[in-house]
Symmetry: C2
Amino acid sequence: MDESKLRTAGLPDTPNRIERHSLHDAILTRLRDMIIEGELAPGTRINEGQVGAFLGVSRTPLREAIKFLASEGLIELIPSRGAVVKKFTPKEVRDMIDVLRTLEQHAGRRACEVATETGIAQVRDLHDRMLDCYRRRDRLAYYKLNQGIHTAIVALADNAALADVHALLQTRLKRIRFIGHEGPEKWASAVAEHEEMIAALEARDADRLAAIIGRHLDQAWERVKHALAD
Amino acid sequence: MDESKLRTAGLPDTPNRIERHSLHDAILTRLRDMIIEGELAPGTRINEGQVGAFLGVSRTPLREAIKFLASEGLIELIPSRGAVVKKFTPKEVRDMIDVLRTLEQHAGRRACEVATETGIAQVRDLHDRMLDCYRRRDRLAYYKLNQGIHTAIVALADNAALADVHALLQTRLKRIRFIGHEGPEKWASAVAEHEEMIAALEARDADRLAAIIGRHLDQAWERVKHALAD
DNA sequence: TTCAATTATTTTGTATACAGAATGCAGAAG
DNA sequence: CTTCTGCATTCTGTATACAAAATAATTGAA
């Protein structure tokens, strides 16, 4: 009796449910990663039978994942001819970065207004861990933390729509940034900029933060634009 | 010989291909409209069998459309429990409008720089047609042209990513705006603001245009916020 | 009567099957 | 040798079928 009562009454609205069907997300994430990491190169036609067999799933859930990624803009749907991995032109990349700058600047300003101290401290923490990766020259971990910091700053603005569109563009750019290997000197300056960003955020100096973010993303474009062929 | 030469050589890269398979887009558009127009109310669970039968298609393409709309943010996917029409909280709506303002202001500034005269003229044309609808009190046509003008201004900025994210938020807000019936006096002021917007654009006065867009979207929030219950 | 447990039904998730379109190839005509 | 046409194959688009999970209904017990 005690037990049953507990089970029905004591449960929170959303229990610690084990994600029963994560297969769908699994396919989605797997495909996305394959595109980002270049395993599926831009311009590649996605053969449903082949890829499905490779992932060990039938075409049905695979096609659903493809439709999802198409809406994300990573894949292009051509009627009766399937899906191809979207290939971004230099202008498109530049435009994405342009929008990203606008969004992050706005997020930064808002963050200066509404962020909690603990939230800012968490960003500082991420930054410290990123510095650590920089010192040990761990590029991949650095890269991930770098993205994480930008996402975290956007999150501080406490605006779901802002976070959504930012994540969307960030995802589309991931593959490009993955390629854009900057040299040591540029890497150092990028780290320095990050340090400035955090400082401005801690001082809640919105204008300064926005300016730094602007410069930071301009440099991101500089770093990346050379690696774009067609 | 002449004919064959013409056929093979004179053809443009992308011929006037009849869209053979528009069914997919048809389902997508139909579903989207059903959500926007409230035929599928927010919070409604989408029964695949039911809706599929209603639309006259099987569950397979329907599910694909649902996944697409889920990525657009109009539908929420709950594992093993299907899809529900996304219900936006007042804060979420406010946040969306906040981002929309940032995006449109940015677009406006860019448009002042890079827009062609003919492009601006086309916006003016849309505006004139909208005025016409206003005079004959044709709300639906007015509404559509209103959206079209905002989209057109964004398009003038010539930035695909910007247009993408703008369209995304615009779509999410469509249903809300569809509800937000403003009274005659507010309607008049909205029209006046539009007139100012076009004038600023024609003068390529970026700051003024941005200011007007800001006010315009603040008012959009004012108009809409009362209609939001939960 | 009320609550819990078990069963029945519905509904989602995935796989398979089939029809139609697109691609590739081979042979015939020029 | 080139080009066009017809055929075969491959691949996409859609429908159907089946398994597992979730929801509803029913029965039994306190």
